[in-house]
Symmetry: C2
Subunit: 359 residues, 2 copies
Amino acid sequence: MGDPKPTIADVARAAGVSKGLVSFVFNDRPGVAPQTRARIREAAAAIGWRPSLSARSLSTRTSFALGLVVRRDPRVIAADPFFPAFIAGVEMGLTGEGRILVLSVVPDADTELRTYRRLVADSRVDGVFLTDLRYDDRRLALLAELGLPAVMIGHPDRSSAFPVVNLDDAHGVRQSVAHLVGLGHSRIAYVAGEPQMVHGRRRRDSFVDAMTGAGLHPDRVVDTDFSAAAGAAETHRLLDAASPPTAIVYASDPMAIAGMGVVHQRGLRVPADISITGFDGTDLARHVYPSLTTVVADPAAWGREAARTLLQLIAVAEAPNLELPAAELLVGASTGPPSHADRTPYPAHYKETPCVDAL
Amino acid sequence: MGDPKPTIADVARAAGVSKGLVSFVFNDRPGVAPQTRARIREAAAAIGWRPSLSARSLSTRTSFALGLVVRRDPRVIAADPFFPAFIAGVEMGLTGEGRILVLSVVPDADTELRTYRRLVADSRVDGVFLTDLRYDDRRLALLAELGLPAVMIGHPDRSSAFPVVNLDDAHGVRQSVAHLVGLGHSRIAYVAGEPQMVHGRRRRDSFVDAMTGAGLHPDRVVDTDFSAAAGAAETHRLLDAASPPTAIVYASDPMAIAGMGVVHQRGLRVPADISITGFDGTDLARHVYPSLTTVVADPAAWGREAARTLLQLIAVAEAPNLELPAAELLVGASTGPPSHADRTPYPAHYKETPCVDAL
DNA sequence: CTGAAAGCGCTTACAG
DNA sequence: CTGAAAGCGCTTACAG
């Protein structure tokens, strides 16, 4: 058997007070004499008692946990550096708060909504992080109906009572366009993410705006599912066009790297023939050749601040919106001036007759 | 107020039985007449009652949750496709079991051990997944002491009472070596992961064994921290050697892709000058140029089976070890026969005098 | 500022 | 096969 776990009654007995008083002390409620408070703390420490979470959960209807439900294709999420960094950041924001993170990965919208319902029905979480907001996102109404506190990661498409923690990633897209225009590009394409996602379309819109603002036609914009495969396929399509782009802006680093692979496969050079920019600032982007010009954000800071905001919302029923430093362009070696004349694609046997032999 | 949530008492009243009997039915305990059982189920469904998890947790000392504590540098984990896929698999194994996943990302060993202690002290989880097993892994003794059920993802370095769900990844490394040897390579290098991790060293050992078995000297083996930066740095070092390798086997796809970047940066060709193989079978590996020869495993299946094993262990106090299909080599375009003669590195201005212009 | 008691909503021997 | 009661370990009005 060993020593049975001490309970609040043991502490009360040791300190010569009632259980209620011990509870008051451990919940920082006023109305306990400082010396009594100290005596109770000492008694608890001596006995090695900590309040039972299960018991507290039952009487306070609190779970001391936060939830993150991720609706993504596992294949896509595996290539996306956002979530691991975001989660690590959330963890930082939770440190010392005695709360944990409940994670769920779901394949589709129905499962997603069912998962939230269930988390609430079982009192599994005290609040949730809303990532990957979509247009007409059904989660907003559901969570409002369920009365579950939530913090939105990025702005939604409509007003909502939940606080927003935002990081302006569109800024990085605008910088990408400005950078390319500054280099002399005019035929710039954009390989977007999922258009159903608010951040996906917002980035795309900011590309269109930046192009229009520069007096250029944003007529080479394609949507994808964010996968490397889609990035590669759309790159082929763009390059097959009668008037192919001289630069391509991608909505993610994996897609940009896949696109770079396509460019190389077709015997074209980066950036001499095609300039390429990514989005995410992944570690890998710095180590491909040529190193990727990309947009870096700080998803860990995003997670940390989102956690703090959610904890505040849960604690005092309201929390202000928060704006984080915008995503910034990091210029690598994958962007450069376009060639002065339009070039036709180089012969596909480039790779069979490698340049190095020709030197 | 709305309608207060129904309790077990409401169901008992509606069914005309005692609360205890309702509890028996919902816990599938024997000794309830089938018709009574049905009547109680109906009453509960009509009322919309589900047992309160908090109340069950308090009386049964069960949390209905499983834990995963990941000790990894967020930057490295972001590039590693293992965890997202593994977690998605765990989710599949949990479906319909009414259990959730608690995730924690920690930076170091002390925090890691403290996290397990805390999960147990607060009865947060009924069992945990042990990934990234290390030599002299202190978690094994700690969890045994705490009495927390655990399932080991891969074999540990010593015997342990916890069940193992294994996937032979070393097989893929052996296949990589055999593939390269078959192509005619003899100077094959290995860029390993962290040597403190059992799977890291086991893969490295199997590389050494495979080389020795082929009558070759495994004298080009370097350790890394699994980061793309380390993969790139070690690649430079290997290629700077007096007798550089003609093929490099990497312990991860991100390192292999970074290594490929280095090779290209130095004006060498893949695979004409250097063959490269990776490990993980990431989506991106198929879309770099040339496409990466890599080793594919099924981390989602690993997660699913690990979840099932852990649930079984928790339910009946024991579960058998499980062996999953081994990781298999997937040949891409990044491996080919070596050049017949030793070549010196090509001039660094390769990229300034591109081959395509020379055509 | 303090104490005794009810309540959170289940589970589980125990007696019948 | 069934019922009444104690217990899980807290929190929280309520009375003093």
